[in-house]
Symmetry: C2
Amino acid sequence: MNTEQIVIIGSGPAGFTAALYAARSQLNPLLFEGTMPGGQLMGTSYIENWPGTTSILGPKLMTNMREHAQHFGGRIMRETIDHVDFSTHPFTLKASKLGIIVSQAVIVATGATPKRIGCPGESDYWGRGVSTCAVCDGAFYKDKKVLIIGGGDSAMEEASFMTRFTSDITVIHILPQFTASPLMQERVLNNHSIKVIYESTVSKIIGDGNHVTSATIVHQKTGACQPLPCDAIFIAIGLQPNTELFKGKIELDSRGYIVKKKNTETSVHGVFVAGDVADARYRQAITSAGTGCMAALDAEHFLKNLKPAHQ
Amino acid sequence: MNTEQIVIIGSGPAGFTAALYAARSQLNPLLFEGTMPGGQLMGTSYIENWPGTTSILGPKLMTNMREHAQHFGGRIMRETIDHVDFSTHPFTLKASKLGIIVSQAVIVATGATPKRIGCPGESDYWGRGVSTCAVCDGAFYKDKKVLIIGGGDSAMEEASFMTRFTSDITVIHILPQFTASPLMQERVLNNHSIKVIYESTVSKIIGDGNHVTSATIVHQKTGACQPLPCDAIFIAIGLQPNTELFKGKIELDSRGYIVKKKNTETSVHGVFVAGDVADARYRQAITSAGTGCMAALDAEHFLKNLKPAHQ
């Protein structure tokens, strides 16, 4: 079996930038795209904060990054890593189709996934009115009643996006005010198609057996419940780091994010991390790409200093 | 006098990205470009490691970033900050033409500058054969004898670039092998126009009173000196952080880099840092842009939590 120099798990801005830098460092990286090729930006429309590019479709930016990494020799596999063993070096990984892979270094860039509410009815109507991606599913709800759950940038973006399709949008937010950046908030608050219900959550999602028909909204202070008829519910209440694969293998913090020990290195020497899977604070495409670059440079440094006996 | 919410000092990828994010957060940022608008990338030709863009001229990328920040309302001043007072809040800055500016938050993104050798003759022939920028000055030396001093990525880039103009290139490096990334090294080592002298330094630069004519090369182990005729000497021996303005104002490390205390915040609460001025390790356009974004988000968070009495 060939031993890889470096395996990258994940295909958002962090993974592809790591692959680009590792490829340009002639490390012949092998990247596994996972279950959501391209990461979270694949579910966005235009993004306006990739520096130097005033406006670009999220999926287009990711396609560009993918091709850029490939252009310099990055190998990209359309499959998932199902198991990792970091207890001995070189590390062992199991890919869904390719099987066992041995690698000197690993970069984890598995990103984060939108959280679910966890209320009754949510799972029953998942994909049948309940969604975490207005860009993906919004067009199905032309002139329909739509709820957006959340108060951060993602919720604002979902709400603003939905105004293309309908003028009956209600944002439900748990706090007395939004946490989104001012510009994003303003777009929502100034839009007459969007109503806001503060200090409230969804306690139940109700449907006709086939599709969502309403939600129960609970006020956080009074406890008062009201039914709110709706055709779609877009959930944007934060992210969960994708670290299921690494539990017990590398150190995670209390919220499940991977802990960086020194620069981008994890608790395992030779395993590095980049992007949202280790970042609960910034979570931007540009910050993820930056840490992807850092992880590749740190991994290159690690590989250069490996004793020849291990190579 | 108006109090600014946020002043950004510096105009490389870090400064412009900070301005973009601060502008999109409606903080109405004021950016001072300083003595080298656009930063180090203005002295490069094509760069191939900006993720998603296989090849772009460095100055073009910087123009794009500048316009992007302006597009969202970033105000950009073509002048320098000559003095800062961080001892009281809000902070006071003195601009070369605009005069005194008061600001609630400051982002320092002043970058780093190529180091000089410090040998006799270097200052005498600066700009008359001695340069730190082959892209800027290389075309003057068609079919001439050229020395490149250094062994890192920058030195490799300078040497490779000069092969467009001449086939008489010698790289002088202090160590027994290059420290550049493998791909960059290979391009130099495989190029028949480029000779390499290892374990050697330049101890003196000699000219005819008008222009460089030769350099004295000293072997580090034997101490042997040899004169080497040359028409140009490009120096690429590392960077010096641009922190002269901040000495005694914010904490610097032993090499003069700004110390980050918490996320991107410096030793002064409300003063943040981004890019190469705080980064001796990665120093890439993409990592600088990433930290520029982080500094803007940290500054936004700081401003949001300022007591109203201070606003």
